[in-house]
Each structure stands twice: as C-alpha cells, then as structure tokens.
C-alpha cells in the first residue's frame, strides 16, 4: 500500500488544504486576524495553537471512554485551558517580547472554535494516534493561513519580512510607498477574504 493511501496520511493532510479549518470550515478566525501584522507573531501563534490542539486531541482521545457525555464540554475546556496556561507560561519565559505583542490572543486559544470543534467531532470518537495526527494537521492548516496572511500584510504594509527590509531602497526612491492600510484592522479582513476566494477557485478546478 502506498503511503498516500493510508488513513493516517489522509487524516494528516486533508485539513492542511482541502478542508482547512480557517478557510474551509470557517473556524478560529478571531485570532487568525489579530496576530498577523507581523510574520514573527503569526508563526509563534501558529506553533502555540498546533501544540495545544495536538495535545488536547491526544489527551481527550485517551480519556474518551471515561468522559461522561453530559459534562464533556467542561472537561474539554479544562484540558484545553490547562494546555493554554502551559503555552502562555512558556512563551512568557522564553519569548517575552513576542508574548507581549500577542497580548490576550494566547489566552483566547481557549475559546478558539477549532480546538473545541476537533475535540468534539474527532477526538471523542477516534483512537489517540489518529487524533494526534488530526490535531497536528489542523494546527498546520491554521498556521498556513496565518502565515500567508502575515506575509501579505507585513510585505505590503511595512516592506519587511521577519522585521528585515525586503523591498529594496531603489523602489522607495522611485516613488514606491508602503500600503499602510494593510497594517490596520480592515487590511486583515480583506486579505483573508481574498485568500478564501483564491483557495475556493483553485480547489474547484
């Protein structure tokens, strides 16, 4: 059997493109917009979310036969909140500047619909290994959108990537001006709208 046909492969790769959590399932856009002014913060946010999603899926899947049905939401939220606190403390300890810039959006991973959604629809009914892969796949799918938006916004808005100037000085000398609009909130909405448009048109063919 070829590796591309295995179930694990499918579980891992479908959410990255076809049923991407942000553009395909419209989940978790809150934070996708707010942290994408710079590429740096977007990548850190993507990693933090992938970490939380992978381990919440794993631990909920391990406990799936023990959780009583009517209090499952509270249990899921507790698991997620614990992982988010862990991620937040690690960021504060090792990446203090970025953690300041992300401000409340690390905490808001708790209410990010992707995580609760995957726990409800996938981890509660599937074995741990597949759930872990599903978590990582969805996390990467989310990060991919985040990074695309961030590249667009930082490149067009500030002419930089990772804080380094990318657009050569000669352009500015020739009259090129940074698009300040992309750095502001409306720029994020419009960037996401356009990305969804491109993705829908491409995947239809």
């Amino acid at each position: 059997m070829k590796i591309t046909r295995t179930k694990a492969f499918k579980v891992f790769f479908t959410p990255i493109w076809e049923s991407n959590p942000v553009s395909g399932q419209i989940l978790g856009i809150c934070s996708a917009l707010a942290v994408t002014v710079q590429l740096k913060t977007a990548i850190v946010m993507g990693l933090a979310l992938t970490f939380v999603l992978a381990f919440s899926n794993l631990s909920i899947s391990l406990m799936r036969n023990l959780i009583p049905r009517n209090i499952r939401i509270i249990i899921e939220l507790t698991v997620i909140a614990t992982l988010v606190i862990f991620a937040d403390q690690v960021l504060k300890a090792f990446l203090y500047d970025i953690s300041k810039q992300l401000s409340i959006f690390v905490g808001l991973i708790i209410t990010n619909c992707i995580i609760l959604g995957r726990a409800e629809t996938y981890a509660l009914g599937n074995p741990p290994f597949l759930s872990l892969l599903d978590g990582i796949g969805n996390g990467l799918g989310y990060s991919q959108i985040l990074i695309t938006v961030a590249v667009l916004r930082e490149l067009l808005g500030a002419g930089k990537l990772f804080g380094f100037q990318v657009i050569p000085d000669a352009f500015y000398a020739a009259g090129y001006v940074n698009m300040g609009f992309m750095v502001l909130a409306p720029g994020a909405f419009i960037a996401i709208g356009l990305i969804v448009w491109v993705q829908k048109t491409v995947s239809k063919e």
Binding site: A34, L77, L116, K200
Partner: protein, 202 residues
Amino acid sequence: MENLISIFLNSVFLGNILLAYFLGMCSFLAISRNLDTAIGLGLAVTFVLSITTPANWLIYYYLLAPGALEWAGLPGIDLGFLKFIIFIAVIAAIVQALEMIIDRYSPPLYTALGVFLPLIAVNCAILGTSLFMVERNYNFIESVVFGASSGMGWMLAIVTMAGIRKKLRYANVPAGLEGFGISMIIAGLMAMAFMLFSGITL
C-alpha cells in the same frame, strides 16, 4: 467622568472589539444572516458582558492578582497564571445561572435570549473583554463601563452586518467569493468606516 465617557466612545467605535480586535468573529459570521436573531444575540452579549466583566474584576483583584490574597494573610502569592481557567469557568457558570434565572422570572426574555445564552459561553468576545480589562488595569467602575460598552459596540457591528447582508441577497457576487469571502470583505469595509472615528478624543 470624562475618563468613563472616553472608555465608552473608544470601546463602541474606535476600539470596537469586533472590528478592531476581531473578537467574536465566529458567531458574528454565523448569526448575522437574520436581522432579528442578530439583535437578540447582540442584546444577550451586551447583557452577559456587563455582568461577567465586573465579576471577573472582583475575582482577579481579590483572589488572583499578585498580592491579592493579602486579606487572607498570604501577601506573597501570585495566582495570575490561573486567570484563563478561572475566567472561563466564571463565564460558563454565570451564563448557566443567568439562563436559569431568566427562565424562572422572565419567560418572554427567555424566549428572546434563551437560545443564544449557551452559545455565548464560548464566544471569544466575552473572555477577551475580561482579559483586556486585566491588561489595561481598569478599576472597578471602569470595568463596568468597559464591559457594557464593548457589548454595545459588538451589537452595533453585528446588527449593521445583518442589515448589509439582507441587501446583499440581491447583489451579483463572483462565484468563489460567495458566503464567507464576501462577508470578510464587507467586514473590512465596515472596519474602515469605524476607523473614521479615530479623530474623537476627550
């Protein structure tokens, strides 16, 4: 007083939690198809925010903040890292309690708001407002004003959006852009309009 008015104007218009900080987007996109449900959800969010924000203020400054446990003889303890889990638990508990109280004392209000209350517990606007309240060091009165006016700002945005979407039914939208894509672009245009208020200062 001036300070409070400025918090009010800022959180309704310029720093609108939905259009400037992107909080509560999921329900914003899901519910804004119908004007009446949009108004209902907006009222429910405003109501819940005006209660949970001050409640979380009290819990944070009397139990969790660095040195907050001084009244219990434990001045050296900092439980600040617990705020995420405590806030979400408080919000879920208050929403649940509100649902029962409204159901018991005001059936008409329950029919109007009841269906939205469970949705609200996981709305990031509610948790986000509490976290902003901590980050911006508001005092108690300010947290009351901030909670209520954030809710009003959110309601203003979702009701406007529902109105625009109603008109959109007759518009000719390109195929790939229908649904989610065009909603994001409309939200972008609305955010731009709200930014025009940035001249207002007190």
